[in-house]
């Protein structure tokens, strides 16, 4: 009875994982599309604003009215985009798995930081609803820009670098499993491989090297971002945070993670090549 239940449970869990595996990338690409369409809408509003500036046919009153509307809509779209990004950042953080105690502590601290943005966003929304004059809108846009520059963007950069490095690590564990399976399959098939024996072995070694390099780069990226974030999120008493150094570390970490992922892609193209060889034997 228990065995049947376990089998059913395993099937349910497996189905859930497959469904999640299929839909998670779709959800991410959907978020990406929402970002892009909102950016396009912002660009359209700015385009309208530029055209109005050059328009000499409208009366000064009508021009002012349309200008206020265009500026207000542009700020509202930027606000919508910021909210979309905010929820994406939180979902990136909550989606991380297999974190150790210290990393979990960082995730919690970063989540709190992102959630704090809600206060600033709430204030901007209130002001946006009330802004009726050109000066109100201009001032709101200037304050919104400052808030994004000094509050929102630095937090976003930290979260993106932190989640990116762990997404890279998760991808690497899938790649490691795949490499093991390929090795086992090739070992079983070894006797049937003749002329291409050496070629297959060479390709397998090459894939192994790519994956090793991917691990090394991901490890470097992880070390850099964890040390940098640890110093930034939990500084020693009176220790000053060097913002320039932090920005450089974030940049380096993202760059190493990206390179690591490129090596993983290369490893998979080698696997595909290996598949072709074994099939043509």
């Amino acid at each position: 009875m228990i065995r049947i239940f376990n089998q059913k449970l395993s099937k349910t869990v497996l189905s859930a994982l497959i469904v999640a595996g299929l839909f998670l990338p779709a959800a991410r690409s959907h978020a990406q599309e929402s970002f892009q369409s909102t950016i396009r809408e912002i660009a359209n509003r700015i385009g309208t604003l530029l055209m109005l500036r050059k328009n000499s046919e409208l009366s000064p009153e009508e021009k002012l009215r349309q200008e206020i509307t265009a500026r207000k809509e542009a700020v509202r779209k930027i606000f919508d985009l910021t909210e979309l990004e905010q929820s994406d950042l939180l979902s990136r953080l909550s989606g991380l798995e297999n974190l150790n105690e210290q990393q979990e502590k960082m995730r919690t601290a970063l989540t709190e930081l992102v959630k704090e943005n809600s206060n600033g966003l709430k204030e901007i929304r209130n002001r946006l609803d009330k802004a009726d004059t050109l000066d109100d809108i201009k001032q709101l846009a200037a304050d919104f820009k400052d808030w994004r520059t000094f509050v929102y963007n630095p937090k976003t950069e930290k979260v993106v670098a932190f989640t990116f490095v762990f997404q890279g690590k998760n991808i690497l564990s899938v790649t490691d499993e795949r490499l093991e399976r390929v090795k086992n399959d090739l070992a079983e098939y070894q006797n049937s491989l003749k002329e291409s024996d050496k070629e297959a072995e060479g390709l397998l070694a090459k894939a192994g090297t790519e994956i090793r390099e991917a691990h090394e780069l991901n490890g470097q990226a992880r070390n850099i971002i964890l040390i940098a974030l640890n110093n930034s999120l939990f500084p020693f008493k009176n220790a000053r945070i060097n913002e320039k150094e932090l920005a450089r570390d974030i940049y380096d970490s993202k760059s190493f993670t990206e390179k690591s992922m490129q090596h993983i892609r290369k490893a998979y193209s080698i696997f595909l090549e290996l598949g072709k060889i074994t099939r043509s034997e």
Binding site: G21, L22, L24, P25, R28, S29, Q32, Q36, I39, R40, I42, A43, R45, I46, G47, L49, L50, R71, A74, V75, I78, L81, T82, E85, I137, K138, Q139, A141, A142, K145, R148, T149, N153, T156, E157, V160, F164, Q167, G168, I171, V174, T175, R178, R181, V182, N184, D185, Y189, S192, M261, I264, R265, Y268, F271, L272, L274, G275, K276, T278, R279
Partner: protein, 141 residues
């Protein structure tokens, strides 16, 4: 009826038929048993070897055939770790490109939003035109 049976029971071949039949039987060739020689064994051996060889050949062909069949049809399934569909699915699920694109998105969007807010706040800088064109023409991040 009984008389008929009694009459049939008493039927006998004629003496002439008996003599002729006896002569025919006695004049036919007689097979004499003789000792077993190598010459007798050789065809037997030849027959066994042929059967043995034929069996060996058939076994060889079967094994070779299975191996060939395996290479042509079974090997892709056996090497499931190298199955192209499964590999491509895995690459898609890992969505490396999406991950990278999203990281680049955040880098680019911050710059574009800053340009848009500069324009909206009315304090556009002198060199904003180029950045604005970039925002208006390249809104794909």
């Amino acid at each position: 009826m009984e008389q008929t049976f009694t009459r049939l029971k008493n039927i006998r071949p004629s003496a002439e038929f008996q003599a002729r039949s006896k002569m025919l039987i006695l004049s036919s060739a007689q097979n004499q048993p003789r000792p077993f020689t190598l010459a007798d064994l050789l065809p037997e051996m030849m027959q066994s070897s042929f059967a043995f060889g034929l069996s060996a050949l058939m076994i060889f062909m079967m094994v070779g055939g299975i191996s060939l069949f395996n290479r042509k049809f079974v090997s892709p399934a056996v090497l499931s770790a190298l199955d192209a569909n499964s590999l491509n699915n895995e690459i898609e699920k890992m969505d490396i490109q999406i991950q990278i694109a999203q990281v680049r998105y955040y880098e680019n969007s911050a710059k574009k939003v800053e340009v848009a807010l500069n324009e909206t706040s009315g304090d556009a800088l002198g060199d904003t035109d180029a950045q604005l064109r970039s925002l208006l023409n390249d809104s794909n991040l």
